[in-house]
């Protein structure tokens, strides 16, 4: 039992700290796929470097208990630094930090936090005299359990810093169990007290960062960090550092609602997905309308309700309003009702997760829930006087995607563009809006003829129409280009380098991506090959393994969300199931001993079979258990392959950390390139095909050796 504590702690601690780092990172850098890619990618990269360097310098396992404690302290320090990172970059609470700042911060913070875990992996293997299967087995189990504990127990109940303190206390206890000494006990008590102090300072630290705003409340919930600030009468809700609602702000709420509702002013059923506060009030101005308001995060309403003025609260409590706490897509899958108007008030598609609301499949799903002449409306960031290339591509794509689902699409120009789509009539003329406002006595402050005459100026409409029409691109679930273009637009705010980089990937042919990633993988492998010769060849499948499993994991998560919606608990379970798959695979390799070459071959075949199965399943309506099964199988094959590849490396005395380092290096590349480039540019099916080709190459490379071995025996 005691033998398993240290590797278990490694997995438990590393995944817990990684999850908490990401939780703290996102509010500071307004998380999107690029930011996630940086954090996850650099985390894996530094882990890899730590493992490889430790292998080179052959550190002593006696340093392990202290290294665990130092890692804990670094975890705390890392979270503190991230909380105050705005001061370092010279930016205020509400200022965007930008892509470059995210890049360098991710690089530095993951170095601080992940590098030691790479070293610890090596030391664990050294501690157990090369029993890598044992270490990998219990590391995987620890990581799987950490995923469940952090996602399902700590995050819903505690703040980020409190969760870190709780994990730290558990870790200190486990360190004592494995490596008891009196000196260690004293140090642990001191560290425990430090963690208890840390527990209490989350909110005060947030207050300092939020200055000069008056921070009324903060809540770290399942879907991110919610903060409420107030200046004068202006109440603002932040979700992961981005403004989710600011009240009063009639301009925002009115444009979200009225352009759509005026098309069907006698609507009885209106579905509002996200963005409810001001919008519900505006919808209720139409006497016949009943609102179904779908908001994924119950904490948003729960927290805001406390601070809302009574009259605003009354709108949410009106008998004409029904609130459901579900992912918008999951809601539409689940319910059968039809609506005259569906208003989509979700943020711009900066992540693949939000992009699910901008795809052809979603619009078709929405259409199923519309009456025959129903209207769907969505609002996206734009510009009044000039739209740059990135923005044009994004807007054009939204327009053409809507056009594949509806026969009519109209767009209101302005700082934000309101897209209206329907199979029935649409009228966005000034006269029409003016007559509806007058006839039905709809009381508005900014959607009024005195402002609309400028916004609907024919010059602006004509110019916008030119930009929007003719885009050949369609945003699809399985080829989610929308978030790629939106990210490119966001990047253009911070300088053109980042925009150009994304734009470059948008232009290149798909096959080039595969060659590029293979080339980078080969470049990573080259120094080892040059140094150790063919002895290091079993490391190549590990590199491909890291790349494949990371890509496949993220891809299945994304696929799951498009099929079944974003369901927090299920996503947490999916991630953990992969880890438990690794555990089972490693265990299997202990139980059934195969010659390494045969084992590698078998695992490659399993990988190819899984990828082929995934490829075939992607476009199908599959039962809910299928994505779980795939992730478990990927984990199983990966766990088994990891052990199979490591044993010949050990036999050749190439160092305990080499295999682990190569696995993480492959994962690093996948984390950076997968969600940001592969999925949107190639689409999910072609990404799987790329993985298949890559794995087939791995398989083909080993067949001659197998044949030779067979002849030899």
């Amino acid at each position: 039992m005691k033998r398993t504590v240290s590797p278990f702690l490694l997995g438990f601690l590393s995944l817990s700290i990684q999850l908490l780092l990401l939780r703290e990172f996102v509010p500071q850098f307004n998380g999107n796929e690029v930011v996630y890619g940086f954090v996850l990618g650099f985390w894996l990269l530094w882990g890899s470097v730590g493992s490889l360097l430790a292998s080179k310098f052959r550190l002593s396992p006696s340093t392990l208990p202290n290294l665990y404690r130092i890692t804990l302290l670094l975890g705390v320090l890392g979270l503190i630094c991230l909380r105050f990172i705005r001061f370092f970059w010279g930016r205020g609470f509400a200022e965007s930090l930008g892509v470059s700042a995210a890049f360098w911060t991710a690089l530095a913070s993951t170095c601080l936090l992940s590098f030691p875990f790479g070293v610890i992996f090596y030391l664990n293997v050294a501690l157990y005299h090369g029993e890598i299967a044992l270490v990998y087995l219990w590391e995987s189990f620890g990581a799987g359990l950490a995923g469940l504990v952090v996602d399902l127990i700590l995050i819903p109940r505690f703040t980020c810093w409190q969760a870190m303190a709780a994990i730290g206390l558990v870790a200190l206890l486990l360190i004592l169990i494995q490596f008891y000494s009196l000196k260690g006990l004293i140090v642990s008590v001191f560290l425990g007290l430090t963690l208890l102090v840390f527990w209490h300072f989350d909110y005060p630290a947030q207050e300092v960062v939020a200055r000069p705003f008056n921070l009324l409340a903060s809540h770290d919930g399942r879907f991110g960090r919610l903060q409420i600030t107030k200046i004068e009468e202006q109440l603002t809700l932040y979700h992961d550092g981005l403004v989710a609602a600011s009240l009063p702000n009639p301009a925002e709420a009115e444009e979200t609602v009225h352009f759509a509702l005026m098309q069907r002013h006698e609507a009885k059923k209106v579905l509002l997905i996200g963005g409810g506060f001001g919008a519900v009030k505006e919808i209720l101005k139409y006497p016949a309308a009943e609102v179904v308001y779908v908001e994924i995060d119950p904490d948003i309403i729960g927290l805001m309700r406390v601070f809302l003025p009574p009259e605003e609260r009354a709108y949410l409590e009106s008998p004409r309003v029904k609130v459901y706490h579900l992912d918008g897509r999951a809601f539409l899958y689940k319910m059968a009702e039809s609506y005259e108007v569906i208003i989509l008030a979700v943020p711009g598609p900066a992540t693949a997760q939000i992009n699910r609301f901008y795809t052809r499949e979603f619009f078709l799903l929405a259409k199923k829930h519309l009456t025959p002449s129903g209207v769907v409306s969505l609002k996206v960031a734009s510009a009044e006087n000039y739209q740059n290339l990135s923005l044009r591509r994004f807007l054009g794509m939204v327009h053409s995607t809507l056009g594949t689902a509806f026969s009519r699409v109209e767009v209101i120009p302005g700082e934000t563009n309101i897209f209206l789509a329907s199979d029935g009539p649409l009228d966005i003329s000034l006269n029409y809006f003016a007559s509806v406002l007058k006839k039905y006595k709809i009381d508005t402050q900014t959607v009024i003829p005195q402002v609309l005459f400028d916004r609907l100026n024919p010059w602006r409409q004509e110019r916008l129409a030119k930009i929007l029409t003719g885009s050949p691109e369609v945003n699809r679930d399985l080829r989610p280009r929308g978030y790629f273009y939106y990210l490119s637009f966001l990047a253009s705010q911070f300088g053109l380098q980042e925009e150009r980089l994304l734009g470059f990937f948008a232009r290149i042919p798909g096959w080039f991506l595969l060659i590029l990633s293979t080339l980078i993988l080969f470049l990573i492998f080259c120094p080892f090959l040059l140094r150790h010769g063919k002895k290091v060849l079993p490391g190549w499948p590990l590199l491909i393994l890291g790349f494949t499993t990371m890509m496949a994991e993220v891809l299945v998560l994304l696929w799951f969300q498009t099929k079944f919606g974003f369901i927090y608990e299920k996503i947490a379970l999916l991630v953990s199931l992969f880890m438990f798959g690794l555990f089972a695979g490693a265990r299997l390799s202990q139980k059934i001993a195969l010659p390494p070459i045969k084992a590698i071959l078998l695992d490659q075949i399993i990988f190819i079979a899984c990828l082929s199965g995934l490829l075939l399943s992607l476009p199908l309506s599959v039962p809910g258990f299928v994505p779980y099964l795939f992730l478990f199988l990927f984990g199983l094959a990966a766990g088994h392959l990891f052990i199979a590849c490591n044993s010949p490396l050990f036999k050749e005395r190439l160092g305990y950390g080499l295999g682990y380092g190569l696995d993480l290096a492959g994962s690093f590349l996948a984390a950076v390139l997968g969600p940001v480039v592969f999925f949107p540019v190639l689409g999910l099916p072609l990404s799987v095909v790329s993985l298949l080709i890559l794995n087939l190459s791995g398989l083909l490379a080993f067949i001659p050796r197998l044949v030779l071995d067979g002849k030899g025996s």
């Binding site: 200046i231 004068e232 202006q234 006087n385 000039y386 470059f504």
Partner: protein, 373 residues
Amino acid sequence: MKRREFIQVAGLGSLPLLGCKLFSAPLSPFSQNQPNLSRVEARFYEKLPDREIKCNLCPRFCHLGDKERGYCGVRENDGGTYYTLVYGKACALNIDPIEKKPFFHFLPGTQALSLATAGCNVNCKFCQNWQISQVRPEQVEAFDLPPELVASNAQKYSCASVAYTYTEPVVFYEYMVDASQESRKRGVKNVVVTGGHINPEPLEELIKVVDAIKVDLKSFSENFYKEYVHGELKPVLEAIKLIHARKKWLEIVYLVIPTLNDDVKMIRQMSQWLLKEIGPDVPLHFSRFHPMYLLKNLPPTPISTLEKLHTVAREEGVRYVYIGNVPGHKAESTYCPYCGQMVIKRTGYLVESFELRNGRCRFCQSPIPGVWG
């Protein structure tokens, strides 16, 4: 794909690992529009030895070597001669109500042909037009619109004025001056919407050919200018004084950004300064901020803050104080400072009633300063 393109693509493809900032612009096959640059010699610069020049247009006084561009990105030294690259190269063109600029005392209820080229000589973190102001001219889609066409289009679309706006018109100075002269010939007036970062000599010349200037006073604090504008306050104040001294119609807009430039004490000082230097009759607009560009995560300005600042400026003696970007607010309208009657009723960008006769209040006959027709 040609061999050369392939080499570029392959070269670029390997760069992501090195970090975004290492990415080299000239190699990129992406987003560079075909250069559509003018080559008209710029004004207000000094030739220096070794083909260097010094730009005297704005307070940055860019000192440039051969082939270098100024901070604005639209003026280039080529072999010791300084060129403007955006002469006649408009990238945004609209017909806007003059109230949108905002000018409230200048030809109310008329339309302005509004145009801009790329570039700006400051870098405001809250810029509404960052997609054209913070880029080089090669990075926008511009079209040819020579000064004569500006003037004829204004006439064609019944615009009473041409507005040089959206980006900082100082950076396309030569184009603005020539277009203003052409417009004048056709009886069309010219208005400038500027941040006021311009040196006295070019400003003097500009004043001669335009009819009204709106200055965006972004704060009354040097620190704010340094941090959020990347500019200086002092030259802006000097420009305001000069415009007023030359009796050119002037309006001042102050965008109130919550927590950053909304300090009551500072606004009181600013109002006192305005009163002392340019008198009580220059309209002062307090505009509501909406989250924008790099300050997207700020809330909109609370209406009560705007009202508080409005009161402060009125208390200090500024006669025509407005609240902008709040359609329907009573402070959008003009009131006679003598009898208190509403003389111009505005809602949004629309003038709903106009109670001036020959520039005088219809109720008490007191003069209301402005350019009324």
